[in-house]
């Protein structure tokens, strides 16, 4: 489904060049639940951004669902991303000025869907994360766990083939963290490919495969025998 071939990503300031990704090759199969682990600054989030088409590699080739997208323009990446990729972030990134349902709806606004269908999809997604009854609440009125579940609902409302989660439990206590992981497990079992960045070995082991990174390189690719 996703194939990275010798991907590099360097950041340049006036006098310093930093390699965030250094010759990374990786393949993600459809339906996989992949966890990426590694110390801070090792390039996990950069890899996730490249996978999710919100960042472009400096060099290398990237086949996204069968198409080489490494040199695509911003506009083309946006069109590829639209409705195919869902994102979940560590700090939830809900829009303060929109209520729960409106936040979830944002993901559907740019795919050209009729209003009635959007509404039913939003209701369905919220039902799935158990927050239908909170649809008219503002983000500030929810707990951290609830906010992350809204973010998950927003990520899956477009029924994406790929869901990328950047430390989705990083800002949550263990109970809420487990609940979110359960939710991601269920989504994966329903057929969505998931790539998740995490610091938690326990959470990583609920994935089917763990990729370890260090200094911008993949240092270990470990299949887990029994997924969650």
């Amino acid at each position: 489904m996703l194939k990275l071939d010798r991907i590099c990503k360097t950041y340049r300031t006036s006098d310093v060049e930093t390699a965030a990704l250094d010759d990374v090759s990786l393949e993600v199969r459809a339906g996989e639940f992949l966890a990426i682990m590694g110390p801070s600054g090792c390039g996990k989030s950069t890899l996730l951004n490249v996978l999710g088409l919100i960042d472009s590699p400096t060099s290398g080739a990237y086949w996204f669902m069968g198409e080489d997208v490494a040199r695509c323009s911003e506009e083309q990446l946006t069109l590829h991303r639209r409705a195919r990729v869902g994102f979940v972030f560590q700090n939830f990134n809900l829009i303060d000025d929109l209520d729960v349902a409106e936040n979830v709806e944002v993901a559907l606004l740019y795919v050209g869907m009729a209003r009635a269908e959007r509404r039913s999809r939003v209701a369905e997604a919220l039902e799935r994360v158990g927050l239908k009854h909170r649809e008219h609440h503002m983000p500030k009125q929810l707990s951290g766990g609830q906010q992350q579940r809204v973010a998950v609902a927003r990520a899956l409302v477009t029924r994406p083939k790929l869901l990328l989660a950047d430390e989705p439990t990083g800002n949550l206590d263990s109970a809420n963290g487990d609940a979110v992981l359960d939710l991601l497990g269920a989504i994966n079992r329903a057929g969505t490919t998931i790539v998740m960045v995490t610091h938690s070995a326990e959470h990583a082991h609920r994935a089917g495969r763990i990729v370890h990174m260090l200094d911008g390189r993949v240092v270990e690719d470990q299949e887990i025998a029994v997924a969650c």
Binding site: I54, T78, N93, D96, D97, L98
Partner: protein, 821 residues
């Protein structure tokens, strides 16, 4: 999608109430100020466009440029010109005339219409100017020599009702006329200011009497009538203009010392809609507008909008970090940069439309006072006048787009991977905001310099240059003349400090020439003749620079009173300009010498220079004029010539001016049946500078608006900076910074852009205002102090604006500040 955008916009607006208020108030104020200026400018450009066929109607004027003298523009012509033009040019469909009457109107009930402006008009006047009749038939209203037409205002003043047709009105001391029709008042945007139209066909109308006089062989040409011509629909004005020179040469007869007068004359044809936009002319019915000032005002309106937009851009980008997550999420969800731009542009337009509502309310509230000040009837009927409503919306949309473009571009360029990780935003926006503050304060400082300069020039024109108690000097109407029986009786009253008889030329109301033969060779020197009485210098407080003033002790001074036909010239007093022009190295050198000069006087019914004759220069006095500082005071010769005295000038004691005037009026009424009329010099001077006074007030008001806007922008930025720097300030306090250190730190931060602004504002303001001052022959200088004061004031405003907020921040406990982040 729109609902989602709308929800985000509205909630963002409500969540940040302080910013929203500052933002909306700033935009509203900018819109209101710009709308008022636009309404004013529109009114100025709309003069006389309500008259049907105005594009075919022309006011005939003259430019008179005698050899050696600067050109004079006149908006009046001879009473004979209308008929001659119509005869000479088949393109002219019809011609009509107006002539001021100055007569007092009263009713049988002794009801005197206060200050009614009455004009003699030709019977066909209402054919060219078809005003709307309220009562009576306009077609023949002025065809009878004893019927007149009133405006509804005049009818109300005289009869307390509009339907006054058939009523009789006493016109002047003797005539009685019947009201034939009542017309609607002329709107304020007309160059005509008539309340009463008297029948030009009346035997004592100047349209009849002066025409008869002008037709006498050798008669002096005089300009007393406003002449309008209407061309045929298929006629070309260019054709007419191309033949005007030949017409002038054949129509204007007579010569001065052998030179045809016609050579000095050029007729002008000004389209009716442009009459108000022409340079000032002698005889203007209303002071025209200076188009340059109008353009400057439109510039000020644009600057105000720029400042308001600057605030908006500054606030929107300052708050951008609060919207960054939203942009990131939307982009991650598949929104393109274009879609994000459209969203934020739409939001800015929404802000603009929201700001338009209070702006419209503010204009509605202010307009009556604005109209009162300008003496206008500017309407703001945006509901019934589609162009106005659309204009307002267009202004809002344009401003919204202009103000929204940068924030929309700035916000839409956020990289989702950066903002969603919480990376701090690039500092370019902060630099852009600083640049905006510099630009706003530069505009503010430039406006302050302009306001100070305009006010200084007015003070210079009215106070410094004349150095006279203008409220104690009274210029009697020329209708009164200067009867010696009255002036001789005045001392018995004991209330008049001095009285003098003068010619119109002395005061600059008309021009009689003198021709000096230069004692040092070279060409002759043409100057102004100022025919005065002994006491003229007393009345106007003029002291000689060298020599002695005219006095009864010297018989040669009053030569012409004794013998009007003498070819000799009387003793003269000249001004400095004349002394310079005659080549004297100092005033003292001129005194006591004999100047050879020619006096213009009427010989055998023709205006001619008499032969050269020498007379003594008794004194040199400073250049003096009660006229506008726009005009140069040329060489002037003062001498006594009672034959051309046309009016009296009184100087009263300071203590009881009004009582003194009443005593003089009482005494006058014992001498004459005509009413005692005139005006104080301060009224005259204020009328002279009415346009500059209006400009000054407008500049002051709109500078105040710019000050408020710039201060608002800074306040918003101060709140934002303090918010962003709470942690830094807390840390500084933990490290031992005192409250004053924090205040100085914040103060310097906001003072810096104001200081930079001076560097931009000073040269720009200097160049613009220097150019404005060049329009006056005599003007004040723009001193360094003006710039320093403007800069200091802007700095004080900036510091005062941020002081309150900085104080609050500086007083906060450091731990609170650190906990905040």
């Amino acid at each position: 999608m729109l609902a989602n955008y709308f929800a985000a916009a509205i909630r963002n607006l409500l969540r940040n109430r302080a910013y929203t208020l500052i933002n909306l108030f700033g935009l509203s104020l900018g819109f209101a100020a710009a709308t008022l200026i636009a309404l004013y400018a529109r009114d100025e450009f709309s003069y006389d466009r309500f008259i049907p066929n105005h594009d075919r109607i022309y006011l005939v004027g003259e430019v008179v440029e005698p050899p050696g003298r600067s050109a004079m523009r006149l908006s009046v012509t001879s009473t004979t010109d209308a008929e001659a033009l119509k005869f000479a040019f088949p393109e002219i469909e019809t011609a009509t005339r107006l002539a001021p009457s100055g007569l007092r109107l009263s009713t049988k009930q002794d009801n005197e219409g206060a200050a009614l402006d009455s004009f003699w008009a030709d019977p066909n006047f209402f054919d060219v100017f078809p005003l709307r009749s309220i009562a009576g038939d306009l077609a023949n209203a002025l065809s009878q020599p004893d019927s007149l037409v009133l405006t509804s205002r005049a009818a109300r003043q005289l009869f307390s009702r509009e339907d006054a047709v058939g009523e009789t009105v006493r016109v002047g001391p003797d005539a009685v006329m019947r009201v034939a029709a009542v017309v609607e008042n002329l709107p304020s945007n007309s160059h005509l200011n008539c309340d009463v139209f008297l029948p030009g066909a009346a035997s004592f109308s100047p349209l009849v009497t002066l025409t008869a006089e002008q037709r006498q062989p050798g008669a002096l040409r005089s300009e007393n009538a406003y002449t309008y011509v209407r061309l045929r629909g298929d006629a070309s004005i260019d054709d007419v203009r191309s033949r005007l020179r030949a017409f002038t040469d054949s129509h204007v007869r007579g010569d001065v010392n052998g030179t045809p007068i016609a050579k000095s004359y050029t007729f002008t044809l000004t389209p009716l809609a442009d009459v108000h936009l022409q340079p000032r002319s002698i005889g203007d019915l209303k002071p025209p507008v200076d188009v340059r000032v109008l353009h400057a005002l439109i510039g000020v309106a644009l600057l105000i909008l720029v400042v308001a937009c600057g605030n908006f851009i500054s606030m929107m980008t300052a708050r951008a970090s609060r919207r960054a997550v939203e942009v990131g999420v939307r982009k991650a969800a598949g929104a393109t940069q274009r879609q994000i731009m459209i969203q934020f542009m739409g939001e800015c337009l929404f802000y603009g439309l929201l700001a338009l509502i209070p702006a419209v309310v503010a204009v509605e509230l202010v307009l009556p006072a604005f109209n009162g000040f300008l003496r206008r009837e500017i309407a703001f009927d945006y509901l019934t006048e589609p162009s106005l409503g659309l204009g307002l919306i267009g202004l809002t949309v344009l401003t919204g787009l202009a103000a929204g473009a940068y924030p929309a571009l700035y916000l839409s360029r956020f990289k989702p991977n950066a903002v969603l990780r919480g990376t701090t935003l690039t500092p370019q926006s902060s630099r852009a905001r600083q640049s905006l503050v510099v630009a706003q304060f530069a505009i503010l400082i430039a406006l302050l310099v302009a306001t100070f300069t305009v006010n200084r020039q007015i003070h210079f024109a009215i106070e410094d240059r004349l150095r006279l108690p203008t409220d104690q000097i009274y210029l009697a109407s020329p209708a009164l003349g200067c009867p010696t029986s009255f002036t001789d009786a005045l001392p018995t009253l004991g209330r008049v400090k001095a009285v003098t008889c003068v010619s119109g030329s002395t005061l600059g109301f008309d021009h009689i020439s003198v021709n000096f033969i230069s004692p040092h060779g070279g060409g002759n020197v043409n100057g102004r003749a100022a025919q005065v009485d002994y006491s003229f210098f007393d009345v106007f407080g003029i002291q000689p620079i060298a020599g002695r003033l005219l006095s009864p002790q010297f018989g040669q001074d009053d030569l012409l009173r004794k013998d009007q036909s003498t070819a000799d010239n009387p003793t003269i007093v000249i001004n400095e300009a004349a002394a310079r022009a005659l080549g004297y190295s100092s005033p003292a050198e001129a005194v006591g010498t004999f100047a050879r000069w020619q006096r213009l006087s009427v010989i055998d019914g023709r205006l001619q220079f008499r032969g050269q004759s020498s007379s003594k220069i008794a004194a040199v006095v400073p250049d003096f004029s009660i006229g506008s500082v726009r005009d140069v005071v040329g060489p002037t010769a003062y001498y006594i010539d009672p034959t051309v005295f046309s009016r009296m000038v009184f100087r009263f004691d300071g203590g009881s001016v009004q009582q003194s005037l009443e005593s003089v009026r009482d005494l006058w009424e014992k001498h004459s049946s005509s009413p005692f009329q005139g005006m104080f010099l301060d009224q005259f001077v204020n009328a002279l500078y009415e346009d500059v006074l209006t400009q000054s007030a407008i500049f002051t008001w709109f500078s105040a608006v710019a000050i408020v806007l710039a201060a608002l922008g800074l306040l918003g930025l101060a709140i934002f900076t303090a918010e962003r720097r709470t942690k830094e300030i807390g840390l500084r306090k933990v490290m031992g910074a005192r409250r004053t250190d924090i205040l100085l730190f914040l103060g310097w931060r906001f003072a810096r852009p104001v200081l930079w602004a001076n560097l931009i504002a000073w040269p720009c303001a200097y160049l613009v205002m220097q150019r404005w001052l060049q329009g006056f022959a005599y003007h004040t200088e723009i001193g360094v102090l003006t710039f320093v004061i403007a800069g200091a004031l802007a700095l004080a405003i900036a510091l005062a604006t941020v002081a309150g907020h900085a104080m609050l921040v500086a007083r906060a406990k450091p731990m609170e500040a650190l906990r905040y982040e």
